[in-house]
Each structure stands twice: as C-alpha cells, then as structure tokens.
Amino acid sequence: MALADLLELSNKQKKIGLSEERLKPIIPYLRQYVAFWREYPDLFIDFLQTGESGEIPEDGLHFYFYQRVFLRAAIRYKYVYMVFPRAYSKSFLSVLVLMIRCILYPRAKLFVTSGGKEQAAGIIKEKVDELCNLVPALDRELDHRPGKTRISKDYCIYMFKNGSYFDNIAARETSRGKRRHGGLVEECVGVDGTILSEVIIPTMNVARLCMDGTMQPEETLNKSQIFVTTAGWKGTFAYDKLIQFLVWMITEPEKALVLGGTWRIPVLMKLLDRSFLQDL
C-alpha cells in the first residue's frame, strides 16, 4: 500500500467532533428532518445506514416494499391493528417502530405487552439484538450506562440517550397504575380483554411532556396503540377490537388503520419456505 493510500485512509477515518456550537446553526434543518422522519420511518433507517457512498451496506437492513408500507402505517396512525401470518416480520417491524418513536420523540415512554410477561421480554430482546446488529446507529442511541438499559429473564427496559424508553409490561393486575404514552400489544389474540381494557389501555392516559415543556395531546404518539397478531377467532376480544378499529378507519381515517396480509407475501419474498407450508 502506498503512502498516499495510507494518508487517504487515515483522512477517511478522521473523527469529527459533534459540539453544541456545530449543531446550533443546523437546528432549523434538523427540525424539518425530524418532522419528515416521523412520517417516513423507513427513510430514517435508510438515512442511518447510508454513509458517504450513499448506499446501504450489503449486511445492512434492506426493506421490502411491504415492510415500508407496514412501517409507515404503524407510525402515522394512532390506532393500528395488523393481522399477518408467520414470518411476515411483524414483531421485528413493530419493535423497530417503537425504537424509532423513542429516538424521534424524546421522553417517550412506550410498552410492549403480550400474553405472558416472559413472552414479551423474549420478543423484545431478540428483535432489539437483531436490529442493533443490522443497524449499529440504533445501538448507539441506547443508553448502556449501568442502571439504564436492563435486561433480565422476564423484564427488559431499553433506555435511550434522549430520555425515552420502552419496556415490557405484564398483562396482569400488577401493571395497574403504570404510566406510558403508547404501546404495542403483541399477539393480542392471546391477551385477556378485560385486563387489556381495564389495566393496560388506561396506562396511556397521560401525554408526553415535550422538551420545550409543553404537552401536545393530539400528537400521534400519545395513546398510540399497535395491535399485532396472527389470525384468531371470531367472537373474541381481539376480534371486537379489530371491528372497532375498522369502524374508526372509516369514520376517522386520519387516526386508525387496519391492515392484513396473506402467507403469499413472505413466501414471495423468500422469508417463508414454500415446503414449510406444504408440510403443515
């Protein structure tokens, strides 16, 4: 390797300090970016991955078309209900939505709940690890100082450097009285309806305190509910909730959205093996 190459290499890896003085002049542009990314989360992830070359690395996170639809739908609406089959990457994308919300909305407090506390903790841990490996910038937003991000067998909390966090809460009476701004109900078909409506949903009766000290109850993040599940049964709480969201989707189209998908999409994208289906 020639000296010129070495010098060029060292220049490329030169670290540039990120001081307050450097950031202040670009704050008006950053505000526009944040507003834009809050509506286009997929482009935010693309932006985090593109370096000087402007291309996403080979081992990075490349979204499929339907994943972009999922991400935008989940972040733009307050009430989202999604029914998708196995291998649709629904949990992966839902956890990504929570992480993006935590980054773009400082001081956001979000939750994940599922049929069992351990189940939710397991889902979060697995998906966050996977996401942090694919997009290292997400990992850098997490606060790894002692006492902040904590992971145990049945409870995990991921704290961000801007004061946001998300954790798993149990769909039990013990969760009564907790306060969150929004959340994700994983596999909602297995969650007890009474607990959900009497304990989990009431946790969201406070609005996020913005960094300027104001509260904006109409902000999409506040009281945002994402229900994600595989197909269930008629006459259950989850089904009633689906119909309720469907009616909202018609009466208040800017607030609610219901999405569904078939097994054909993951098979088409090679996320699900065709032989797996034939063996079922």
Binding site: E20, L23, I27, L30, R31, V34, A35, F36, R38, E39, Y40, D42, F65, R68, V69, R72, A73, P106, S197, P202, N205, V206, C210, M211, D212, T214, Q216, E219, T220, D240, I243, Q244, L246, V247, W248, M249, I250, P253, L257, V258, L259
Partner: protein, 119 residues
C-alpha cells in the same frame, strides 16, 4: 435539542409522495368502499359503534380521574363567574319584571274603577 426550540409540528402530506404512500391511500380507499357498500355489515358495525361509545365514556372518566378531584375542586372554587349566584343581568331582569307587574296592577285597578263607575 431540536424540540427545545419548540414543538415540532407534524409533517404535512397533502398527496402521496411515492408508491408506498399511494399504496396506503389505495388500501384506505378500498376498505372504505368495501365497508360502505357492503349491505350485511349493519349489525357488526352497530355493535362496534356502541362499543366505541362505551370506550369513549370510560376514557373520559379516566381522564377526569387523572386530572384529579383536587384540581376539579380548585377550579370550581375559583370559578367566580359560575359561582356568582346573581349577576347584573339578573337584577335588570328583576327590575323589568317588577315594573311590568306594577304597570299591570295599575291597569287592572283602573279597569276595576271604570267597571264600578259603569255600575
């Protein structure tokens, strides 16, 4: 740091910017048409609307609880306008009512005197 300057308003999307946006818009339109034009969904939707109403009432109750009874009491205590039992308008109305009554009495008395004179 960005939000310290003030609340960041929502990015306004007036029309679809790419095919993903278009896809979302299409799905919403399609579902709307499907539900609005389907004849057999009446009962289902009626029940859902009832449930929404119940949920809204519950939510309103929860919000009231969250605001706290103390806050409500304090607001009521210092709400001078609603606490004022009688205001200026009430006194004006009372004065008008008394004047009208006095005028009616006078007219009635005059009519009685006239009747007596007739007899």
């Amino acid at each position: 740091m960005c939000e310290k300057e003030g609340f960041i308003p929502r990015f306004y999307i007036d029309s679809p910017n790419d095919k993903v946006d278009r896809c979302l818009q299409d799905m919403q339109k399609y579902t709307r048409t499907l539900v609005m034009e389907e004849m057999n969904l009446g009962n289902l939707i009626e029940n859902a609307v009832k449930q929404i109403q119940v949920d809204k009432e519950k939510e309103a109750l929860r919000d009231a609880d969250a605001a706290g009874d103390d806050d409500a009491f304090e607001t009521e205590l210092f709400d001078e306008e609603s606490n004022a039992f009688l205001n200026d308008e009430d006194f004006v109305q009372l004065k008008e009512y008394i004047d009208e009554g006095a005028q009616d009495d006078e007219e009635f008395l005059e009519s009685l005197i006239d009747d007596e004179d007739m007899l």
